[in-house]
């Protein structure tokens, strides 16, 4: 009798198992073999171009939209929707777009699609994360809702942009996510649109609800796209991985076609694992640590000597070899070798060489002005895998200068950034910058101009400001780059941040695909990938 009851429970349990198991779909691939899979991460915000500032969402948006220009693999801007972008004074820009292009819902892409999208992105009360990209346009305000008066629609295929000051690199910026056009459907209900965005790019969402949160997003080729990025494959499946390790396991098993990034644990072996399918190239990533001048000992004459001493006390190449298995390049300036205008021979760049004798001498000189007290600390966020190199840098400094030094871990990235932006951090801290668009200016102006958004060390130099202004108003790109190089010569003297190294993009691809190339921004050029 009682045994029957047990049987009943067993039966009930079995049914639950069966029921929950039937909830699963049968197949995993739709059967379409021409789909390229690539690793990504769950977008942190709804898929709205002006509100996406991180790689997870950026990878998707860049593939489903076509802006005025796109960047080819080496970072050169190529007209996508733009017919021409011209200016005589670098202040008023005349933009003509190609006609006959359509969003994937059939709506025509016109000058209004751009102008309205930009106005939406810039409007104060819309609180878009990328709104600062529009702050050079006349009428922009960080304080209240204002009309972006600098934008004027001339005809359905032409509009003008009036800036508040001359910006020679303005056309270079236009390939960035923030400047994409939006169809009318977006303005009707931005929140719903962000779930199922409608673009005009080489790919489109496979269907309504193609974004499966925390799992993947499926894109298919957009046959109506007429630009230079026509897809050579049938579509993309962007799989969201929690860790790079999981993605790498899939890559090794040919379960993932293209992988951007290599997990730390596999950095030593991935070239053996993948052979000629391994990717290792320079990236538009600059890493440094910033020493705010408000800290004791780090301002004025004494500060300048100590900064130069610290910089020369670090054996960058050795740290790169030991900690990163050689997958970084020692910094020679404040930008990146993949950017046009980069130079490894700027005046004063020898301050970035490892020179222990000189470092000791400079440090002793500084001690004559005011004796060194306390410990040299270097703060970093503990959730980002920075401990290894920070400890190595600390040891390098400690051994060369014979002072107390230690790393200072702050548990979470959010906490770390809060302390930096509120100026409550009491130690030098790690900083990094990945370019939004391939221009020297993007590495200099946002970080070292007086009062700029990412000027974490609150650096201010009238000379640098003047040279940035000179670069902005330059008539040609070469002229502009010269000015930014001159600005860096001053930065190399002042060292508001100590340049460490340039990032490298690592990655790889499976045996099932070919023609995989990684772009200037470390993102694979997906439309060219061919399934074998």
């Amino acid at each position: 009798m009682r045994f029957k009851k047990l049987g009943l429970i067993a039966a009930a349990l079995a049914t639950t198992v069966a029921l929950s198991l039937t909830g699963c779909a049968a197949g995993t691939d739709g059967g379409n073999n021409n789909i390229i899979s690539i690793n990504g991460s769950e977008p942190q915000n709804p898929l709205i171009a002006t509100n996406t500032n991180e790689v997870g969402g950026g990878l998707i948006i860049d593939n489903i939209y076509a802006g005025l220009v796109y960047y080819d693999a080496d970072g050169t801007p190529v007209n996508d929707m733009a017919e021409s972008i011209t200016s005589t004074d670098n202040i008023t820009w005349n933009i003509k777009i190609k006609s006959g292009w359509k969003f994937t819902n059939g709506e025509e892409v016109t000058a209004d699609s751009f102008v309205n999208a930009w106005k939406y992105g810039a409007l104060y009360s819309n609180a878009q994360l990328n709104s600062y990209f529009f702050d050079a346009i006349e009428g922009f305000s960080y304080e209240e809702d204002t009309e972006l008066t600098g934008l004027t629609v001339v005809s359905p295929t032409e509009f003008t942009v009036k800036l508040t000051s001359a910006q020679s690199d303005f056309p270079l910026r236009l390939g960035y996510t923030a400047f994409f056009p939006q169809p009318q459907a977006f303005f009707d209900d931005p929140a719903a649109f962000g779930e199922n965005p409608i673009g005009n790019g080489p790919y489109k969402l496979a269907a309504e609800g193609a974004w499966q949160h925390n799992v993947d997003i499926n894109l298919v080729k957009n046959d109506d796209y007429k630009g230079g990025r026509v897809a050579k494959n049938g579509g993309l499946k962007i799989v969201f991985y929690a860790t790079l390790d999981a993605a790498y396991a899939d890559l090794l098993a040919d379960n993932l076609d293209v992988m951007a990034g290599i997990p730390d644990a596999a950095l030593k072996t991935y070239k053996d694992d993948l052979g000629d399918r391994a990717v290792d190239q320079a990236a538009a990533i600059f890493q440094s640590f910033t020493i705010p001048s408000r800290l004791e000992h780090w301002s004025g004459e004494e500060g300048a000597l100590r900064r130069a001493a610290i910089s020369q006390a670090i054996n960058r190449q050795e740290i790169i070899d030991v900690i990163f298995n050689g997958t970084r390049k020692p910094a020679r300036d404040f930008t990146s070798p993949v950017i046009a205008g980069w130079s490894d021979a700027l005046e004063g760049s020898d301050v970035l060489d490892y020179n222990p004798e000189n470092a000791k001498a400079l440090w002793a000189q500084a001690n004559e002005i005011a004796p060194w007290t306390g410990t040299f600390e270097l703060a970093y966020n503990a959730d980002g895998g920075h401990q290894g190199w920070v400890d190595a840098v600390i040891n390098s400094i400690k051994n060369t200068l014979d002072i107390d030094a230690s790393g200072k871990a702050i548990a979470l990235f959010s906490d770390f950034r809060t302390e930096i932006t509120e100026d409550t951090i009491t130690a030098p801290f790690r900083t990094g910058w990945q370019a939004d668009y391939p221009a020297l200016a993007n590495f200099i102006a946002p970080l070292y101009q007086t009062g700029a958004g990412a000027n974490d060390g609150d650096y201010s130099s009238a000379e640098v400001d003047a040279l940035i202004e000179k670069g902005n108003t330059a008539k040609t790109l070469d002229e502009a780059n010269k000015a930014y190089q001159d600005a860096q010569v001053i930065l190399l003297k002042d060292l508001p941040a100590i340049p460490m190294w340039y990032g490298v993009s690592n990655g790889g691809y499976s045996t099932l695909v070919s023609s995989v190339e990684f772009g200037w921004n470390s993102v694979p050029v997906l439309h060219n990938v061919i399934k074998k």
């Binding site: 009682r2 045994f3 047990l6 429970i9 639950t16 198992v17 929950s20 909830g23 699963c24 779909a25 197949g27 995993t28 769950e42 977008p43 942190q44 915000n45 709804p46 500032n53 991180e54 104060y124 009360s125 609180a127 994360l129 709104s131 600062y132 960080y142 962000g194 779930e195 499966q212 949160h213 925390n214 799992v215 991985y241 929690a242 860790t243 390790d245 999981a246 993605a247 396991a249 899939d250 090794l252 098993a253 379960n255 702050i410 548990a411 979470l412 990235f413 959010s414 906490d415 770390f416 950034r417 809060t418 932006t421 990094g432 910058w433 990945q434 946002p446 700029a452 958004g453 990412a454």
Partner: protein, 309 residues
């Protein structure tokens, strides 16, 4: 019996409010500002920052935030994640996956663990018993992520028997490998537990009586020894089931299972208050339910236990 269940459910109410309040406070007290983190290494745009804080009620005092959250829950609204997805949808998407995985792991634990344990207990001191001891010690002393990586490398990458990671569908066959990994540790414990319990029960008077009545060995083992030995095992299994349901963060991360553990981990890293609290709340409820069911199961297994008159 019904009265007993009612009483237990009533008891769950203060636990529910207590845990949500506590967890909400812990997320609130977490260092760092999630909105600052949204700007990444870029500078913070003050205007956008203020508005986002207001949008997620982060500018309000703690109790006001909690009030917003709890009133929302009673209207069936668990809040919204930063990516604009209702947290209710996130719960609905992840829990079935984890429940499926946990059920599979527990089933494996039951079949393999109790089977081996019973066999070893009945053949005390023999070769099978000794080798099961060695096996369990080996499994207990190996961390689960080591087993996970080894299994993934050998069975998925080298032999190709399974896919290294789980797709969005998270089907039965895909989940088999992570389920086996998850079950290894518990299998080892259950083998030891069942074995000693069986040995103890075998020496009881009622077992001798049963043999004395002339029952076959098979029937004595099945009806008298096994059933009476299962109580500690059921306790362990239910606790383990609870642990598995609230997410095996490490294993889910390694096999990229779109389940509770992985999602919760990411929510904590991003400081998404509503997501974290909702997940933990549901976990607490599940834990309470599993505990209640376990207590009821005791009555089924042992006739001497009776609930509520």
């Amino acid at each position: 019996m019904v009265g007993y269940i009612f009483k237990r459910v009533l008891q769950a109410l203060p636990v529910f409010f207590g845990t949500t309040l506590l967890i909400y406070f812990m997320v609130f007290a977490m260092p760092g500002d999630p909105i600052v983190a949204m700007f990444g290494d870029r500078g913070v745009n003050q205007a956008v920052y203020e508005q986002l804080r207001a949008q997620y009620h982060l500018d309000q005092p703690f109790l006001v935030q909690y009030f917003y959250y709890i009133t929302g829950i009673f209207q069936g609204d668990f809040g919204t994640s930063f990516s604009g997805q209702p947290v209710g949808d996130v719960l609905a998407a992840t829990f079935p996956v984890t429940i499926r995985l946990a059920l599979m792991a527990v089933t494996i634990e039951m079949l393999v663990g109790i089977g081996i344990g019973l066999f070893a207990g009945l053949r005390k001191g023999k070769l099978f018993d000794n080798s099961s001891l060695v096996m369990s010690l080996l499994l207990i002393s190996t961390p689960v992520f080591v087993i996970a990586f080894v299994f993934q490398f050998v069975f998925a990458i080298k032999l190709g028997w399974a896919k290294p990671t789980v797709s969005g569908a998270a089907g039965f066959t895909e989940l088999l490998l992570p389920a086996v990994v998850l079950s290894t540790l518990a299998v080892a414990y259950i083998v030891r537990l069942t074995r000693s319990s069986v040995i103890e029960t075998s020496g009881q008077d009622f077992v001798r009586t049963a043999y004395g009545k002339g029952l076959t060995r098979q029937r004595v083992v099945r009806v008298h020894i096994l059933r009476n030995s299962l109580i500690p095992v059921v306790t362990y299994l239910s606790i383990d089931f609870g642990v598995l349901l609230v997410g095996a963060t490490v294993t889910e991360g390694i096999f990229n299972v779109p389940g509770v553990g992985r999602t919760l981990y990411q929510a904590i890293i991003r400081g998404e208050g509503p997501t974290v609290v909702s997940f933990v709340t549901v976990m607490v409820l599940i834990y309470l339910a599993v505990n209640l069911i376990t207590d009821l199961l005791y009555a089924v297994l042992d006739p001497r236990i009776r609930y509520g008159k």
